[in-house]
């Protein structure tokens, strides 16, 4: 999957996203970026882009998310390819532009218009940011038809998926998990793109399937290490895109292992993990040898205190416990 050492660099996920945007902006002058305080590069991934592409193509926006996320729709409708930088928590104020316009326009107008837009949604959580700044409700965009939903768990995937997202002709919600934005990984020099809808086996195993996304992937891999020491062989599968979802890869893995742990950092109820559990209960039922284990964030808002916040999320330990439970 990754290239030989000569051709790659060890860079962070943030840098990988930055490279993808930079290269696509060089390639296609219709690509431009909107967001708050991006010219000064506050949030990393846009760093240096204003300097290279100018303030017209890297536009600082006022605190008017509904207007500028909606303006992205209008700009896309007339032939541009906007990238919008934001965080999931700031999307509530813009939800109407996202749902009523971005997700619906193409279908509602009988396919008259393509909307090639990437909405970059940082997921802040795990950083003592409290309830207002820790939202991870991307399952909403799995539920609402019209968005593609992408979730990178490492630098390599990040760059390849971002390129595909920018080249795709539909609205994409690109989830950026801040717990792993600083993690480094090998990224090739050469141009490459990762197709949407193709899951990736991050670790092969035979006893239990762990489906994990974004920042849950490293935790699942850590759990798999622990389990290996106990003689349990866990397969870690990263869907990489939630819409489209690579059902077949999940079903194939469960067909092999007979057991499923599904891990999500969204709140448990109606989560991506719930959906994957439901799919396997429908289509992989005869493979299942034990109850499905669904992990997710506790159904409370994210508390500020460091004494409480870590209790909310799945950890390597709770993932390993869940895997063990499937083997009892």
């Amino acid at each position: 999957m990754t290239q030989t050492a000569e051709q790659t660099r060890n860079i962070t996920l943030t840098q990988a996203l930055n490279e993808a945007m930079r290269e696509e902006m060089r390639r296609d002058e219709r690509v431009f970026i909107m967001g708050e305080d991006i010219q000064s590069g506050v949030y990393g991934a846009s760093a240096g882009l204003a300097q290279e592409f100018g303030y017209e193509r890297v536009r600082d926006c006022p605190l008017s998310e509904n207007a500028f996320m909606g303006a992205a729709v209008g700009a896309a409708a007339v032939g541009m390819r906007p990238i919008v930088e934001s965080a999931f928590c700031f999307m509530w104020v813009a939800m109407d532009s996202l749902v009523s316009q971005a997700s619906k326009m193409r279908y509602m107008f009988g396919g008259q218009v393509d909307l090639p837009i990437v909405y970059r949604a940082s997921l802040y959580y795990g950083g003592s940011m409290a309830a207002h700044h820790s939202d991870r409700s991307y399952p909403l965009f799995m539920h609402i038809p019209g968005f593609k939903v992408v979730f990178a768990s490492n630098s390599y995937d990040g760059k390849g998926l971002m390129k595909t997202a920018i080249r795709d002709n539909d609205p994409v919600l690109f989830c950026e998990d801040r717990t792993i934005l600083g993690a480094r990984g090998e990224v090739p020099e050469d141009d490459y793109a990762i197709p949407l809808g193709v899951a990736d086996v991050k670790r092969e195993g035979t006893d239990v399937t762990i489906v994990a996304i974004g920042g849950m992937v490293p935790r699942a891999l850590e759990a798999a290490d622990t389990l290996a020491q106990e003689g349990i062989s866990a397969e870690v599968l990263d869907p990489r895109t939630l819409v489209p979802l690579d059902r077949q890869a999940i079903l194939d893995s469960v067909a092999k292992t007979g057991r499923l742990v599904t891990v999500d950092m969204a709140h448990k109820t109606c989560s991506a993990a719930s959906e994957i559990a439901a799919i396997v209960a429908m289509e992989g039922f005869w493979s299942l040898q034990a109850p499905v284990q669904r992990l997710g964030t506790a159904n409370v808002h994210i508390p500020f205190s460091t004494a409480l916040e870590p209790l909310c999320y799945p950890t390597a330990e709770t993932i390993a416990d869940a895997a063990r439970a499937t083997l009892e």
Binding site: F32, S64, A67, F68, G70, A71, G74, M108, F109, D168
Partner: protein, 329 residues
């Protein structure tokens, strides 16, 4: 005095086309041939026509729930519009949009929104597209007095103003949002007064006079094309019918006086324009009658076209969601 006869006659033609289209829609709603919600534009024709005649074909517009008139004013296809209202595969949106979601990208109609205020940012984005692409296409979002109370209105105007985008914000103040008078719901006296908050021109226009609308919008369009930024125009107008066809039955309390309705009907935009054309000697009664008759035929043809057209096939259900398709269940 505007003396361009071709223009003046085209204004009449488009206003009459809207009127007769809408009268036909009422019949089709009553006969059950059109289902769902339908909001009549009768009485407000001069606003859309005056505004759209000030635009080029390649300028953009967005509309709202009460937007059968705007596509016609912008030069859209009447056959396809009627077919859309009947849910037919030949409709503007292949039957997927219906009355509240007409769109015709071929003549700059970026589509209509049933959610109020929601398509104002879309128009701003189209104007941003003009700037980025280096062309001078202007975008006109049409919205009501009610919608001007939505947050999207404020954010959009501010955004267009700071970026000096070529947008003409066009508020059709028909004085009511369903049963609510704008006098109770809008804190400023006129909606055009709100322009002060954005340092842009705000103009109150007689929305029953298509020439007044045309002139005000032309000035705003010139400003926009010159890179001087957006304007806010309020066309003061009136809707003759209740909020939506059929809703009359369920509004239980009178929210406006019969006399008020009658007064406004005396200022009918089509009559005003016809009388002016006659009194100024710009047109003869015969020419005017010919437009009426010709338009009636056009609407009959459109009805016939719509009726004869096939419904979409079941496979269409899963089509058009994505430009780069994915499996859907």
């Amino acid at each position: 005095m505007l003396e361009d006869k071709t223009l003046l006659m085209e204004m009449l033609r488009r206003m009459v086309r809207i009127r007769l289209f809408e009268e036909r829609v009422i019949q089709l709603v009553e006969r059950g041939e059109i289902v769902g919600a339908a909001h009549s534009y009768i009485g407000e024709e001069a606003v859309a026509v005056g505004a759209c005649m000030a635009l080029r074909d390649d300028d953009w517009m967005t509309g709202n729930h009460r937007s059968h008139g705007h596509p016609i004013a912008k030069g859209g296809d009447v056959n396809k519009a009627m077919a859309e209202l009947l849910g037919k595969a030949t409709g503007l949106c292949k039957g997927k949009g219906g009355s509240m979601h007409l769109a015709d990208f071929s003549v700059g109609i970026l589509g209509e929104s049933g959610i109020l205020g929601s398509s104002i940012p879309t128009a701003v984005g189209a104007a941003l597209g003009s700037v980025l692409q280096g062309n001078d296409r202007v975008a006109v979002p049409f919205f009501g007095d009610g919608a001007s109370n939505e947050g999207a209105f404020h954010e959009s105007i501010n955004l267009a103003a700071i970026w000096k985008l070529p947008v003409v914000f066009l508020c059709e103040n028909n004085q009511y949002a369903v049963s609510s008078s704008f006098k109770k719901m809008v804190a400023s006296e006129n909606i055009s007064d709100r322009s002060a908050a954005y340092n842009i021109p705000g103009v109150l226009v007689d929305g029953q006079d298509c020439i007044a609308m045309y002139e005000a919008v032309s000035a705003a369009v010139a400003r926009a094309r010159a890179g001087e930024g957006p304007s806010l125009i309020e066309g003061r107008t009136y809707r003759y019918y209740d909020h939506s066809l059929g809703l009359g039955r369920i509004v239980r309390t009178a929210y406006r006086e019969d006399e008020e309705v009658e007064l406004w009907k005396q200022r009918d935009p089509i009559n005003i324009h016809k009388e002016r054309l006659l009194s100024q000697g710009m047109a003869t009664q015969k020419e005017i009658d010919a437009i009426d008759a010709e338009t009636q035929r056009q609407i009959d043809d459109a009805t016939e076209f719509a009726r004869q057209s096939p419904y979409p096939e079941p496979e269409a259900l899963f089509e058009d969601m994505f430009a780069d398709p994915i499996p859907l269940e």
